[in-house]
């Protein structure tokens, strides 16, 4: 398992963005599910073109946390503050660092302007999985995910320190070329049982058009302990949304974007059901969102539009059976709705 992760996960930007910079994006995403709180950490690199026509990389570090409510920061750095090690295993952005190790990741966060600091060790306890060339609008994206990791460490955010000791976590790594604001949207979620010994881990992804009227692809990935137990794709998956959550976002990041994303209304569903059936296996997951943060990404299509990613904490009830083994738990979930 460790060797598989080390073989699969390395920083692509120095190779792929150097060869063809236009539209290239890469990001490392970590989600920690701790009882009572969720932590999202993201290291991202986006290739831009300067006004002189030269490619440049825009590095960002994002930390958002939900305890009583969502809070956090998005910090953009100058490309002079970016360094990728020659072995493509260490990404440094300012005083923040992410290291790909044979058995997982080490992440150090230092955003003094936002009073956010932390150190994490993420240890893989499940096999990674790679999805190649996922269509994203008029582009393509690859993503590698690790459905379950073990998180140890601490994070200081919002004036409070949160400790992690063997908490469950999720990771994905994404790279490819596409444009924010293109004709796409997505719903993505991670569901993990609260008990680290419980065997099931689930990841869900649905790609749609921008208006979310047309489903382009969808899949529910179910891992049992460290291995894939079932992968349900396309017509094997049915998604239904019910009602509206009916509450304003806890926060909008970066905060100045609240000026252009004013308003208290969202179309986060009150409840979302994912039902998957194939070859005698069946899984039903029901998400009940509780609150959300808005991450605003400037559109690369329109100068006066933004793409909004709603990071939503939810409780998820999962039932079903795979290979005759029953699944039945209520666990923490984070899902992300991208509005184009």
């Amino acid at each position: 398992m460790s060797a598989m992760l080390a073989r699969s996960d390395f920083i692509r930007t120095p190779v792929l963005a150097s060869a063809r910079p236009e539209g290239f994006k890469e990001w490392y995403h970590f989600v920690v599910h701790r009882p009572g709180s969720r932590i999202l950490i993201n290291f991202s690199l986006t290739s831009e073109t300067s006004s002189a026509g030269h490619p440049r990389l825009m590095p960002r570090v994002i930390v958002i946390a939900h305890d009583q409510r969502w809070t956090g920061a998005v910090e953009r750095f100058d490309d002079s503050e970016l360094d990728v090690s020659a072995d493509l295993a260490t990404l440094v952005i300012g005083d923040n660092q992410m290291i790909v190790r044979p058995d997982g990741y080490r992440v150090m966060i230092d955003l003094p302007g936002h009073d956010i600091r932390g150190e994490f060790g993420f240890t893989s306890v499940s096999q990674p999985f790679v999805v190649n060339n996922q269509p994203v609008g008029d582009g393509r994206m690859c993503w590698l995910f690790v459905p379950r990791m073990r998180a140890d460490g601490w994070l200081r955010v919002g004036g409070e320190e949160i400790s992690f000791d063997g908490d469950v976590a999720y990771h994905d790594h994404n790279w490819g070329r596409f444009r924010w604001g293109g004709d796409f949207g997505w719903s993505w979620g991670t569901i993990l049982p609260p008990d680290p010994e419980a065997p099931w881990s689930l990841v869900f992804l649905r790609m749609t058009d921008r208006r979310r009227l047309c489903s382009l692809s969808q899949a529910l990935y179910v891992w049992r302990h460290d291995e894939p137990a079932a992968i349900f794709r396309h017509a094997a998956v049915e998604v239904k949304s019910h009602g509206l959550l009916g509450r304003a976002a806890d926060c909008t990041l970066p905060p100045p974007m609240r000026l252009v994303l004013n308003g208290d209304v969202s179309d986060i569903p009150e409840r979302m059901e994912v039902t998957a059936q194939r070859a005698g296996d069946t899984v039903h997951a029901e998400f009940r969102p509780q609150s959300y943060a808005r991450l605003a990404q400037p559109s690369e299509i329109c100068l006066d539009r933004s793409v909004v990613l709603c990071e939503t904490n939810a409780s998820a009830r999962v039932t079903g059976s795979i290979d005759g083994e029953e699944i039945d738990f209520v666990g923490p979930s984070v899902f992300e709705l991208l509005y184009g």
């Binding site: 006004s51 100045p256 000026l259 252009v260 605003a296 539009r305």
Partner: protein
């Protein structure tokens, strides 16, 4: 001594022109012929368009829209502690002018925010804005 808000705005629009020229032109086009006079804690300056965005110190007699606010209120807006509607209702931001001019000033503000979030230089200017008396 804290840098004047007019100086920070002048630097900001200068960087926008260099770093995100298409967004800069969108701000310029949205502002059109309007001159906006801004009073921040008694520091009076104006923003006008034409061939380029120009920030001028002191009062102007040609302004169609007048905004009276404080450095603290601007920072609260940029930190999303309040929305602009709440700030206006609370009197932290006061606006005078014809409805058309106020709407144009508001649209220009939105175009400016869209431009600023695309430009790498702006976080340092925001940090400088915070160093003033809040």
């Amino acid at each position: 001594m804290a840098e004047h808000v007019s100086s920070l705005l002048r630097q900001s629009v200068g960087h926008l022109e260099d770093e995100v020229p298409d967004s800069y032109r969108l701000v310029l086009g949205t502002l059109g012929p309007l001159t906006v006079e801004v009073d921040v804690d008694g520091e009076v300056f104006s923003l006008r368009g034409g061939r380029g965005l120009e920030v001028s110190d002191g009062p102007t007699g040609a302004a169609g829209a007048h905004i009276i606010t404080s450095r603290a209120a601007i920072v609260d807006l940029l930190d999303a502690k309040v929305g602009i509607d709440e700030a206006v209702q609370a009197g932290a931001v006061r606006v005078h002018g014809s409805l058309d001019d106020i709407l144009r000033a508001h649209d220009t503000l939105l175009a400016y925010v869209h431009a600023a979030v695309r430009a790498p230089s702006q976080p340092k200017l925001l940090a400088a804005l915070r160093t003033g008396p809040l």
